[in-house]
Symmetry: C2
Subunit: 445 residues, 2 copies
Amino acid sequence: MTQHQPDAERPEAEEAAGRSGAPAERGRGLSRRGVLGLAGATVGAGLVGFGAGMAVDRAVAGGSPDSATYPFYGTHQAGITTPAQDRLHFAAFDAAPGLDRDGLIELLHDWTVAAARMTQGRPAGKYGPASGPSDAPPDDTGEALDLPPGGLTLTFGFGPTLFRAADGTDRFGIASRRPEALVDLPRFAGDALVPAISGGDLCVQACSDDPQVAVHAIRNLSRIAFGRASIRWSQLGFGRTSSTSRSQTTPRNLFGFKDGTANIKSEDQSVVEDQVWASAGDGAGWMAGGSYLVARKIRMVIETWDRQQLGEQERIIGRDKGEGAPLSGGTEFTEPNFLAVAKDGGTKIDPDSHVRLAHPSVNGGAQLLRRGYNFVDGNDELGRLNAGLFFIAFQRDPRTQFIPIQRRLATNDLMNEYVRHVGSGVFAVPPGATEGSYVGAGLFA
Amino acid sequence: MTQHQPDAERPEAEEAAGRSGAPAERGRGLSRRGVLGLAGATVGAGLVGFGAGMAVDRAVAGGSPDSATYPFYGTHQAGITTPAQDRLHFAAFDAAPGLDRDGLIELLHDWTVAAARMTQGRPAGKYGPASGPSDAPPDDTGEALDLPPGGLTLTFGFGPTLFRAADGTDRFGIASRRPEALVDLPRFAGDALVPAISGGDLCVQACSDDPQVAVHAIRNLSRIAFGRASIRWSQLGFGRTSSTSRSQTTPRNLFGFKDGTANIKSEDQSVVEDQVWASAGDGAGWMAGGSYLVARKIRMVIETWDRQQLGEQERIIGRDKGEGAPLSGGTEFTEPNFLAVAKDGGTKIDPDSHVRLAHPSVNGGAQLLRRGYNFVDGNDELGRLNAGLFFIAFQRDPRTQFIPIQRRLATNDLMNEYVRHVGSGVFAVPPGATEGSYVGAGLFA
């Protein structure tokens, strides 16, 4: 039925060709290992300048953005300080009822192997989608076969329920190793959380400039997890709303405003060390070099927003809409002056504006590294787009960062009239894996 | 509250700068009219080689794909033979209960003006998102302010219920002008249609290489329609599954197979004339130069598919997975030989394979111009991705094209075990509008 023969015996060099190993190319005898090897070397060279585990500049990693690849193994997981890719597929998984400690470790090992392959532009499994035995299911689903990875990163996290299930059981013998920073998020004013799109034992954040590559990755990780874990909820994001590098332009959210101007940038090494990476002294030693991910699905009532006056929109945000400058004056990157006085005697920036309440100066210096995405999930029965911001933030400790900031916003932010938090999750994101080991190995050591 | 002043009096040249008119750029005194004018001239020159209303080659329209623009006005609507863009936002609208004939005409006029602007990279309205009066809502929502149009096309269609409502009323005095070709689709074997994601009085297909631009367009058309029409259902597609030009590579669907190899290509002028465009002799004269759009939301049971043997997957499709060649041999673009005999005495291509049942040779020569997209809408309660193909096809007459082809597929296609049609729509897509007029004017003449 097929021209493909089982090729378990074909040389490892051909296997390494991976996603590029379409018959036509293989027929020409093209050796891709050399090409990939060279790219790898370039990436390695780039890393020297950035420090291990840091994001690799795209210009270094490849000729075009689509061909960017980031190392999977390293001090930190990729997908945190990596320049935010354009598209997202995020999935929260629940462990299957029968899964035990060994099964969980095996799953994390299998995910690690597949993730390391896919992020380098190779199929999820050894045979790929079209080169394995005819009488077995392919070990890659194929829709990314001809696509460059587009900077794909896969970032794994552990939810509170992995450490202790809702019924109190310690399924995996790790309850005592739960980091203190991995708290259950409190209820915030106005929360309208839907349990079906909140929580999860595990999470995977897939980011790529090509949405098909991100979807392919989540789908294959879900396929690999079959019988061991299944998707609890998932979310596609079509447009990034944050920059994580000074090399990126500031994108716009669905309020039409620039978002993430004041985000932590990967170039700010000391801020990253201070606010993003957990350290050995923080408590759970196995989390050193890791981070904590908070996800919030924030529905925006865009139809109401769209009927609001321009001046009122700008008052709520605290910035002007075109340039993104603070209403105290200047340009996008001018620091806001919350004391600047307007003609009417009030401050030029409303004290309850979003820009002020989210600013480090009113949050004891606390910041977040945000990697959010715009989403549209069809529409509701009234014809309103089910649209908004899928907020993702990384931080060293949610107790001193996301939680107090969000408490302040949830109570006072003028923007609250136009947003509703409908989904939520918090996950401990372990440090990067070492080649030959697996993501989160320290938790089970 | 804002630095922006009402600028109703600013010169038309500045207004024409449109989306590019961010304060920083305007501050530098950059005249964008010249740039846009030049691009327009180039497009015009390109059109001479293609014939009016034909797709404009991207290399002609702009230096990079992102900057591609296609003319809105012309013999045919853009977005049909235009090289299929990477991303989709499709929306079906229902007219508001109180809308009358004049109101409908006014809506179509307003949509035309906004669509003509947005497809050229300008804001939906004259003031744009950030340059209008502070005490009025902006006439563009802003999230595409800094983005090139990415080849944005907006294609409008009229559903059967526009001509006569479900309750039999002729709300707009157009019942007698309903084209015979605009039939209600019959029920096909296996259909599992959900009314809430089927039908609609009007439709808009927004395609762009940038999803934020496509979403922005639908959102602004919905905003403009406020009180006159509202979204009945909408669909995002993240990856195109068809090529409509020989200049494009063949993409893959979520079965992991190349899709659209045998699609109608815009370069095949005689096939396009014969199979895509309605002509004056077909019946409804106002539809000459128009086409008929069939949309089907096809859920794929990808988890079951992923556990199927590679050989069986290839038997179902009738092509090999890697190259996309027919199982009778050759390469992707080799014509399938349905008579080629395999070693076991049967045909190399299964008679019930998808490639055979969809082939013109078993459909009396009927073909479709397909512009489908892969979608993922989260997941179901069992953790299975709610994923599949949002099928869109254009044709001269659904009675002789989509309907008989789909009847054959719905009855016999081996693929049926893995797909479920859950949404459906059929729309008459009028010819292109003339500048100064509006889309569908012929229907009301």
